[in-house]
Symmetry: C2
Subunit: 105 residues, 2 copies
């Protein structure tokens, strides 16, 4: 059993979004990405089976998808995506995101 206080432990970086490993096992990988306003994880995909979950812990922005599609991403919103589907995130305000990937990549 391991507790992490993401809001206290993990900050923001100026050059690009910050990236903290929360948990990794044979079953899943959990990462915390923190974006300053304007930063983004560009749309990308991996040719692998499995899904990822993007959970907005704090802040406002957009979920990014294929073909320039975007959807509002606000605190408490969850996006489920296949790992092989194009996906990304863009922050309008400072934004904290939890990313869960199963199986881990």
């Amino acid at each position: 059993m391991k507790k992490s206080e993401l809001f206290k432990e993990h900050g923001f970086k100026d050059l690009t979004f910050s990236n903290y490993l929360v948990h990794e096992s044979e079953h899943m990988k959990v990462i915390n990405f923190n974006f300053k306003a304007g930063q983004q994880l560009p749309v990308h995909s991996h040719d692998l089976d499995g899904e990822l979950i993007l959970t907005i812990l704090e802040g406002e922005g957009e979920f990014l998808a294929a073909d320039g599609v975007s959807m509002p991403a606000n605190t408490g919103d969850v996006l489920v995506s296949e790992i092989r589907e194009p996906h990304g995130v863009k922050a309008t305000t400072d934004m904290r995101v939890l990313v869960t990937i199963a199986p881990p990549i």
Copy 2:
């Protein structure tokens, strides 16, 4: 790709915490539990391999563990537990929790 707005879509119940399935696949299960102040998921465990992640999306309470141990659980806190380890949650204020289980049970 599927987006859920947990804070808008999912409410609270008087009798016991509310329980909404967000995603289920061969790789993982994602559930949203909403607790009114005073409600709890009592300490329990399952004799299965795998881990669960409890993410506090909003509110204050306690993570519960074996032998009466508890830890503060506040917005942005994440608890990683083996499925076979005793675990639970107790809400002090109204609290929204995302539960991710891999592999799914």
